[in-house]
Symmetry: C3
Subunit: 664 residues, 3 copies
């Protein structure tokens, strides 16, 4: 398997290069990613190309047995370009032009920028497309990151209008689909349509959702522009990928992935300003996204954190053990290659405090030794591991457009899309059940249960698939605010949960948005959660069962006694509806019953231990920084993947320990 | 009486209209407001008019016995207009042009916009001005809402300069009145004068106050422009009104009301993001404003909340009972018509989550039944009730310019104008004493007591009236920061409370602004509050009595023992001065004594019960959502207004119960 | 000595002037500062000059024995100028042009503004440069205050590019020194270089630091432009100064001071919005800055607070006694003249709520009497006092460029430069040890100990001096993050603390940035702090001693037992390194040992009593507003400076009492 580093030879004197490569070899890596911010070096002035620095670096690396992934440098248009063609710069929602001086300072809607992109990508492809030790390409870098997903300038406006024309064909149709009759917004000429610049109140939610779709499509098209050039020139076995970041930005990773050979991902469980890592379930969910965005195909972690990170503010210091733990978590969940960010901390530039395997002094120390240990261990079983298949009995519906719709209308001050998605995903993670993230395009038949968290913006194709799935015996878990919106971001005219009413066996005639300071109570009345209480926050659907049975009800509010959680039979299957944001403890109890009934294999652990099965390989990952936790091994023969030692009965996991066992 | 709904026929398919009207009739309403956002429909392109949709809707409604109020659509200039004349768009204090895409996107200082306004209003007046079932007009919608009160662009600047020229005639006078000698701001040409765009520090407070006056005048003139056209064309018995929102925005509702037949008001005790309704006293005060802004004339609630509200964030869900409670509160305090917002929640547009009597599914449910009950009850006594007179023995001085002056210089971080106004108004509300809100133009002679909260920006006419009023035997209650500012927003050169020093019998040589984290103590030394303690927050005047007696003094600060509350005899009357922001409990005790001495009729209740007398009608309104509270009825015969049942002794009010009794 | 007031005759009717001067004489002042905002009066239109108002005021003042300091009025360019030459206005980081309407609305990089400046300063100098009673000049007013230090417009950009050309000569050198190879930022033409306008992420830290240097240099040059004109025209004995405010703004007070005869300072221990005064140590440190910025020369307090202050928000009310206390604190620490701000509170303009010796009513009251008492007392010994020398045995390194570098990269959310500087300065202040603030230009030989707080941006000249100083027997105290940055804002490539590693006898291979919510513990293992515990916040250096001994170590984190505080012998001296932000109590214990070992004279006091020795004069300043605190006097004869009364044994200091004793 490939294990490597992100390396910036241009940032160090050539006199240091040999020492870097010596240390890399000693560390055991076999790949580096380079060049993704090197446009100025490659095209020092318009139309003049010079690849000598990278030639030299590639020669040194590859002659030492290290393969190379090349990044196209389009995240960093050079100063000369911006100076000559300032229209390339993006514009924010107040009309402020983003300045040169950092990165991602281009609007993806600039034709001029497309021209420059074509030229540099073509040149790079011609130059390196046949190189035997260049194994692949990363296109651009972290599309849309740091608010670069949305630009609101004149070029963007014109492109948005074109996109709308393409989508709706006629203004009548657009006016209909957006409900522009509201507030006299009907457009009588395409050129009247604005980008969502600053208004006194809020823009039309249908316009806003289409603007997000437009932004995402523009990036997908821009990515394809590069991919198409590369594919037409480079060796067939050079792969093409892009390193995603998964935020709620207006980028559609699923669409974009279709044009890539596989997905890459930048894995930063901590970042500047964070006092602790994001939760293990949150990291896991991102890996699941990577794996699922390309139909279950292995992905690369193109940037795997190896030290404390941040720009002007430095975040939580990863503890000894975190590198291995997070590396193993990634591979367990579908990564086939790990590229650590970054080889050595930079002495200059915005990312001075992005610490690497080496710190500023360039000496191999704790982190170097930790990575070395990981690599040595992986040499013994990594190749086998990444070829092992994963099986997910559970899927969770994740539609980026739903995330955008929530971003446009969070409805409660306490609502955050990621947090709520995680609320309903975490219990499965906690039960150590591998979960695929699916969209309307995916086949559900292979799963036993499908979770559909906060299914606000519905997708009629998915709704049909889900009904079919349950009809055939599957189990579905839905949450509050399901079925609210049609695809054009209209509110359904049907009684809630709209098209899911018969399916869930309920009707919702009233609901309550709770602000951060408000909460109700829910009490379980059936199953494991019987008698258990939980706060109900963010949102309360007042459920009226039609055919469903009630599993829990509200308490201590004017709708005390009203159903809060229900269970319905639909065809051969079962549909759960959770009408409010519950605490983890009640969700765990509820999911226990659901998963058991759906005959999903779970693996119960204590503390913060995550277990992931990939083929015969079981990763045991203790995310606690302080607690040693025992894990009871199921029957069967267990041996350590790295050393083939037999393990029996109970596995003791020290804080942050990560162990891979083989079960035979 | 009129009870109706705000209806948007244009937002629903015509096939639904008949069902809507059927449900409206069943509900019992007799009026709808329509068309206030329908410009695009009425003028689909410049100079082309088409009233067919509204013709049809009006025909359907009126043929079913429902009267119509028509809104002029000027809150929503259409896309074609903005595209052709972008100079209509307003500009914020940073120079950012507000975009098309929501509403109120016009600067009231655009001559071009005046032209368009004249044309559409003329056309509407000509079209509908003689219609027998169109009973009146609402001009525009919620002037100034959502920061649309102030615009800072080139057109606004020119208009501001004109307004100043008109006001001051000479630059010498302006320079004098603004104190421009400070910081070399003297203007030598009218064109040098800026709107208050972004500066490093803060603008001249006299300029800022004049800018607010200018903005308010511009809106008053703009309103008059529409009113004048309507009056010149429509039937005499079609009324003309505007639906105010009462915030501290730069709109002068008193001035504007002069041009209206009566005041209308949009009553939203909760809005998006609010976790609970605003306090009953705060709602009551807004009704008092409505009643008082037009000299005690009945007003309309043109939008009365009927469900949870909000744009992208939804606020507190009104409980069962709230609709009736708030309806009755409004009528008790001067409303003669109630128009519920809105008939049905929209499926599209910014206001998707403004819930109505019907929700998105269009089915009559709890809220529909609640409104129906209200209407049925009101049918029995509503007409009599709205014709009953109200008598206020107490007045509170409320000058919007004073609110602006406080907005410009709040002086303490803890200060908020509305909160402090309410601090001194609430105790009278709590004693169930109806209070008029008066300005310098009003006659005080009819009152027994006048409250003058935080009388910072003085008005010499009012000061004289107040002195006369007390001189003749009246009672005045003043608070901290009285008498500070002259009308040009200069600080008085007299010892505080300036022109009120002899009147109050005190001098203030020192004072202290307290920040949120700071507080002092006050202890009562006379009357009911003797020995009672209260925190003193926000501001402390260190009072030196000249002729006044001391009712309370400070404690636990370097001015311990200094007077905090005083009482002075002036002529035949009495003047109280409250030098700090006290807690409610001490204010209640203090007001008890004051009201008793002034022989004001009070009606003591427990819990959150509000009692309002309007003629013989007494409303008993329990604002508590949880507590049942008894009210002891005074002697006399009491019967329910709706059913003529006798009630004796004690009235038990359930949570949120609203009962109207007749006392004979 | 000079004691005076800031007076604005232009803000009052001439009929009031005589009364003002009478009250001033009665008060005992002998100097006023005038005219610093009077440009419009002096140049009412372009090229037309009129000094008649100031002529008259100066005549009245000086004929009454009051000397005059004249301010040049360049903080307030008049309306006519801005209207004719709007390019003078500064521009913020979003491209928003700052409006006329307050003050400091000029970019220091405007050539047009330089021309206007030259003309008005020349005219003033010619007019008043020989006046016998005009004793000196204040140039402009509070450079850089209220964010006026940085402007980002087209003129600024061009000037920045020129400055860079001057500094780096070649683009190659600039690209090298900024590390522009990072993110393809290499510049191929000077005109490509931006000012740091809004970007999606963060600008290059080397560009940012140079931009701050450029802004500071531009102001230094602008100041010199005025100084040079004045010097070339005015009498030799008219001094030239400027009134600094010490914030982290991009102004280099040290550089600028070289061109001034002495430093002035505006002393506002409280300001609008502050609920309490800044700490005595924080005020003291600002005085030390003043004294030290001009090599120990006496300074003027050109604005000494005399009442509550604020623009639209008023801060903490100075208590009776504060005026005297803060006046004496200033003189104790190097002030030779006190000018109170302001004579009387203005009735108009932005500063209406900047209260003065007189309030708006112009009557002499408490504050007037308090100032009078101070002046009377100072008449008896002030002249002697301000001529007494001060001796500092301790110095603290304070480099404004270091402050800028921290502003650019605070690294922890909890970090604030001033707070951290004070953390390591306060213990010396608490031990009543006078501390000079030194830069690389200063001689260290005269000190026994040098504190070098958060020495992030190193200065090689200072590093060498410090080593030499310790080598010769001195004591140095360094803190966390020492030695990190090179002068171009690159991170050192050496193991931390970089060039200070051998010096401190330690290496730092790991560190942890702590966010506000995080903390570790430190426990002392040697000396006074043995067994003492303290929280460790903001930052933790994990120290590996090479030659140093360990004084304290971490506890309760993964690096428990690692050194947190060390002590190293270097040459004949000693170097302490404090690797984290400790609580005051532990720092006090630690400093006790250090100062004792370094044989620094301390003067222990209880409560909030500050003692400052200046020659034979000892100020005893009780900063507590509530506690009476005894001070044990050392042996020797003690008498009061004002009255020559003997004082023995113990001095009882009432709250806020300030007493000056002479020790013989």
């Amino acid at each position: 398997m490939y294990i490597g580093v992100d390396y910036y030879p241009e940032q160090w004197p050539k006199t240091r290069w040999a020492e870097d490569v010596r240390l890399m070899k000693e560390l055991g890596i076999n790949v580096v990613r380079i060049a993704e911010f090197g446009w100025q070096l490659m095209e020092p002035e318009e139309g003049v190309y010079d690849f000598s620095l990278y030639d030299e670096a590639i020669e040194l690396l590859t002659s030492n047995g290290i393969k190379v992934v090349l990044g196209t440098p389009t995240a960093t248009p050079p100063a000369w370009m911006i100076h000559s063609y300032p229209e390339i710069l993006p514009v924010d929602e107040n009309g402020v032009t983003i300045s040169f001086g950092a990165r991602r300072h281009y609007t993806v809607n600039s034709g001029k920028y497309h021209q420059f992109t074509k030229k540099i990508v073509t040149k790079m492809a011609e130059k390196y497309g046949q190189h035997p030790d260049i194994i692949g390409w990363q296109v651009d870098n972290e599309y849309g990151h740091e608010k670069s997903d949305r630009s609101y300038g004149a070029l963007d406006r014109a492109a948005f209008q074109c996109w709308l024309k393409e989508k709706y064909q006629t203004l009548d149709e657009l006016n209909q689909q957006w409900g522009t009759v509201f507030w006299s917004q009907t457009y009588t000429d395409w050129s009247q349509i604005p980008t969502p610049r600053k208004v006194y109140q809020e823009h039309n939610p249908s316009l806003l959702l289409d603007f997000d779709r437009f932004c995402a499509d523009a990036y997908t098209a821009y990515n394809k522009l590069q991919v198409d050039i590369l594919r037409s020139i480079v060796r067939k076995d050079q792969f093409i990928t892009h390193n995603f970041v998964f935020t709620d930005q207006a980028i559609n990773q699923w669409d974009m992935s279709k044009d890539l050979d596989f997905v890459s991902f930048d894995n930063y469980p901590v970042w500047g300003g964070l006092a602790e890592p994001i939760k293990p379930a949150a990291i896991a969910q991102q890996h699941d996204l990577c794996r699922s965005a390309k139909g279950g195909k292995n992905f690369w972690v193109m940037e795997e954190l190896s030290g404390a990170q941040g720009w002007s503010r430095i975040g939580y210091l990863p503890r000894p053990g975190h590198i291995k733990l997070w590396t193993y978590q990634a591979i367990s969940r579908g990564a086939e290659a790990i590229v650590y960010f970054r080889w050595r901390a930079a002495q200059f530039g915005t990312e001075e405090f992005c610490h690497g395997i080496l710190d500023h002094d360039g000496l191999p120390k704790r982190k170097y030794e930790e990575v070395k240990e990981v690599i040595q261990e992986l040499k013994t079983f990594g190749d086998e591991w990444i070829n092992a298949s994963y099986e997910a009995e559970v899927a969770a519906y994740y539609d980026i457009e739903n995330a955008w719709a929530w971003g446009i209308q969070p409805q409660s001050d306490a609502f955050a899309y990621k947090q709520e998605f995680l609320r309903f995903y975490r219990p499965v993670h906690s039960a150590n059940v591998l979960t695929d993230l699916v969209t309307a395009a995916d086949d559900l038949a292979r799963y036993k249960a499908v979770i559909v968290p906060i299914y606000f913006l519905t997708n009629s194709e998915f709704t049909e698939k889900l009904k079919q799935f349950v009809s055939n015996g599957g189990t579905a878990i839905l949450s509050y605010r399901a079925g609210v919106k049609e695809e054009n971001n209209f509110v359904t005219g049907q009684t809630l949960p709209g098209a899911l009413s018969e399916f869930t066996g309920i009707q919702i005639h009233e609901y309550e948005s709770l602000q951060t300071s408000q909460q109700n109570m829910v009490v379980g009345i059936k199953g494991t959660i019987k008698g258990q209480e939980s706060t109900a926050t963010i949102w309360c659907d007042l459920i009226e069962p039609t055919t469903a049975e009630v599993l829990a009800e509200y308490k201590g509010c004017f709708y005390e006694g009203t159903a809060a959680i229900t269970k319905n039979s639909f065809g051969k299957g079962t549909v759960y509806y959770i009408g409010t944001a519950l605490e983890d403890a009640m969700l765990d109890g509820l999911y226990d019953d659901i998963l058991a009934e759906a005959q999903v294999d779970t693996f119960k652990t204590n503390g913060e231990v995550e277990v992931v099965k990939r083929g015969q390989f079981y990763s045991f990952l203790n995310h606690s920084t302080t607690e040693t936790t025992p894990v009871k091994l199921p029957d069967g023969t267990w041996k350590t993947a790295a050393t083939n030692e037999l393990v029996k009965g109970e596995l003791m996991l020290k804080p942050l320990q990560a162990v891979v066992l083989i079960n035979e």
